[in-house]
Symmetry: C2
DNA sequence: AAATTTTACGCAATCGATGGCGGAACTTTA
DNA sequence: TAAAGTTCCGCCATCGATTGCGTAAAATTT
């Protein structure tokens, strides 16, 4: 039998209340004697007593649980996020429930229902652009929510973002400075806010340099290896081969690199490439990749801080957006054409 | 205010019991009229009623929660595991709590306490070799447990493993068949069961071929990029350069590859390498890596099946070990010396 | 019309922990 | 020795959902 407060109370001949007070370190303010406290403490240890969190949660209306909903846990971007978030929350006594949506709206919805049903204290969500209905379910219940890595149009909320446009401009301008004019944009889902902003940055940079963009230099699609691969190979085998690629995320970039290799070309000698997200493989290729790094650790910590301040202080503070700067990490995947 | 059963009961003028029965689809067996049932169902929908899981768990002594404790969530091996486990459990109505230990025993212990306190229905644990005390805490409470990716000496439990020794022998024998005699073992933590078995396989293969192993060809250490890198560079710069490396896991293998590249050498022309775990980057290098793949999906599903059968059927069945075969994936990272 | 059956629910205990309020027992003070 | 403090702790309601047992009211049978 698993011991409860009552088990201990019976053995020490006191009431549940007393045991509860002792085990919660409140016995002094309730004037419980040292002797009683000691007896209770040691018996609890002996019996390996562990508080039933379900009961505590029910009574206290607080679960010390945070739901973390990501699009793809196998993407290093998210698995790192989870690691940082888990670590930060663990030290504050919180536990995380992981939900993987695989970019599926219904699944996201299902997960949100579960989290609300479990009365989580807060949610970190990396939504998909169409999540707005799902998000309203959370907002209606007044559950603290941090939206991560995606801005939803016209939706007021707490956001954790990076400056996608500026980050992209820095990278594309770098290409332009190196003399590139034929720069292809291989993007993710066209409706995704990140993709739109990165695309905007790309256009801005080229526009500032008065370089026009042929339609077939823009390849929206989705954030997958496959899309990167196909877009790259198709262009490299066309009769208007670009000199550089911009990849909208790590998956696309990797796919594009593979495509380039499969076409028998070398980075950076035959073709240049830069893109979003830093990842380990980027440093492993023969020519390490120049990338735009997102400050993941800071983003994770900001998300946690934001949530905890709403949870533990007040939830009626105005919405905040944490917009961090990206870092342009120059390695060796671009060629200077000048 | 968040609606409860009572909220609905009051509005429909019935008792909590009736509402509960209707919402749990048990109203027929309790002879509740269709009319009442309909009123309740639609009101619940209108109010966006969501059952309080803490209350349900408390009463039912079942949480529909599984704890998943991994050593390093950012290792693709574990993030894939988590993905498969999450997906399988989601479809069965279970939720997972993620715990990352970072190979730290105290942290593992802390996480186990939290999970037990939350009365999870089961735990999937990828332990470290010294976890035995922690594991006993779980066993003492009779909580179903699946040990993943690590065999603890003399500990009876449910295990999900692969045939490390056979898998390694296949790979090392392959090197030997290609004429390699100077094969280095770059290993993980010396006490880790995987490492020991992989090392045993390595020794067996060489012994069968009557090839002796100089001491400095065995580099135990830990499962890190750094260790792989350092072991590789050190050997490549020594005066007894091997012709092939065997890497005990994906992190080590990547580090070794990087080390090889930094020494200005080419895979497979200058040096051959094979190793454990398949991972995306393995296919991205100029010469894709020949690896020993673990059937992660099957392992994850087996772990889930094993746990669920204990949870939902009986926990008094004998312990089982799921030992799956590895798959040798031949790519192009070894040179035929014959 | 009385007896029996069926229909349709309600009562109250339970799961385990928490905390406000109250109070008995003992000690000190006047 | 009675009044006033202290010391030390218990009673009981509460959180929300579930379920065994019981029963009033309506319907049916005899």
């Amino acid at each position: 039998m698993i011991p409860t407060l009552q088990t201990i109370a019976d053995r020490v001949n006191v009431s549940r209340s007393t045991v509860s007070r002792v085990l919660n370190n409140k016995w002094k303010m309730y004037g419980i004697s040292q002797a009683t406290a000691d007896k209770i403490t040691s018996l609890a240890k002996e019996l390996h007593y562990l508080k039933n969190e379900a009961a505590r949660s029910l009574r206290e209306k607080k679960t010390f649980t945070i739901g973390v909903i990501v699009r793809d846990i196998t993407n290093p971007f998210y698995s790192q996020l989870v690691k940082f978030v888990e670590s930060a929350l663990y030290s504050k006594g919180y536990t995380i429930i992981i939900c993987n949506t695989g970019y599926d709206l219904d699944r996201e919805n299902g997960h949100i229902n579960v989290l609300l049903s479990r009365r989580v204290d807060g949610i970190i969500l990396s939504p998909i652009q169409k999540s707005i209905e799902n998000i309203f379910k959370i907002k209606d219940r007044n559950v603290p929510l941090a939206l991560f890595d995606c801005k939803i149009d016209d939706l007021e909320a707490d956001y954790i973002l990076v400056d996608n446009e500026a980050g992209t401009m820095e990278a594309v301008s770098y290409l332009i400075d190196q003399g590139h004019k034929k720069i292809v944009y291989i993007g993710g889902n066209p409706y995704d806010s990140n993709n739109r902003l990165r695309y905007a940055g790309y256009r801005n940079s080229l526009s500032l340099a008065s370089i026009s963009i042929p339609d077939h230099y823009v390849k929206h699609g989705n954030y997958s290896f496959k899309h990167g691969y196909e877009a790259a190979t198709q262009l490299l085998r066309s009769n208007d081969v670009p000199t550089a690629f911009f990849a909208a995320n790590n998956r696309i970039m990797l796919g594009a690199c593979k495509g380039i290799m499969d076409c028998g070309l070398q980075i950076p000698d035959d073709i240049s490439i830069v893109g979003f997200d830093d990842f380990e493989t980027a440093t492993m290729l023969p020519s390490p990749l120049t990338v735009i790094r997102q400050p993941l650790r800071e983003m994770a910590l900001n998300a946690v801080d934001l949530l905890l301040s709403r949870i533990e202080k007040a939830n009626n503070i105005p919405y905040m957006t944490s917009m961090l700067k990206t870092e342009f990490v120059i390695r060796n995947s671009t060629k200077n054409l000048n």
